[in-house]
């Protein structure tokens, strides 16, 4: 294992920034959700990396955290996309800018 922890952390940070940029700049609600997923995933990467390089890898803490996080993220995606679909049914668009303008 020659990769230092810094590498993983930097990758995670970059991914987080990319996700954040996506979430903030895209108009399509689904793509905003995609950005959020990316951010969550980068956090997972951090968790696993810290667990792996941490002093007690046998305690499985970070790993467990990541697994729970994955489960929660799945739930988040399901609910989020459900909401988007429902909004689409209501407003006939997934464009957040338009939705803002229509105000309801």
């Amino acid at each position: 294992m020659a990769t230092p922890l810094t590498g993983f952390l930097l990758v995670a940070a970059l991914l987080f920034a990319v996700g954040l940029a996506g979430a903030l700049t895209r108009r399509n609600a689904i793509l905003v959700l995609i950005g959020i997923e990316l951010m969550l995933n980068s956090a997972n990467l951090n968790l696993i990396a810290f667990w792996r390089y941490g002093p007690h890898p046998e305690a499985l803490t970070g790993m467990m955290f990541a697994i729970f996080s994955i489960a929660v993220a799945a739930a988040e995606a399901a609910v989020g996309l459900g909401l988007v679909i429902q909004i689409y049914r209501h407003a006939k668009t997934t464009d957040l800018d338009l939705m803002n303008r229509m105000k309801g």
Partner: protein, 166 residues
Amino acid sequence: MTFAFWLFAVLTLAGGLAAVLLKNTVHCALALTVAFAGLALLFLDLDAQFAGFAQILVYIGAVAILVVFAILLTRGSETPQEGVFSHNWFAGLAIAAAVFAVLAWAVLASAHVLPHEAAMPTVTVAQIGQALIGRYVLPLEIVALLLTAAMIGAVIVAMDEKERAK
């Protein structure tokens, strides 16, 4: 830094960037799966087999498909005529860049305190299982509850108005 790490990292970031930048929504979703796959590979690189496979199973097998379905259900598969980026995209980009700058600074500044090498942990699935129903049984139960609630919620939210009225 190994070759494998570079490969996976580039894959992940390329997928992530594509997911955020591409015009066509379905392409974005497909790029997202690439990012997820890259992450799973990074997990494997970190000896977290179980988490890696779970990542593939959940994210590629379920979340990506869900996203794709949502895109199709909202007729989002056609490339929109007007711009794909929000009118205040610049602000968003700036914020993201700032966040990355801060994070990168923090990581790099503390690089010397972070460990470079670690002992190879031997984690079997059995251990994870024991931990899940041992030490982490409460979180497990809570997550189970949360998932159930989310499932019911998603069904209700996505359900037809008329059917709900019935």
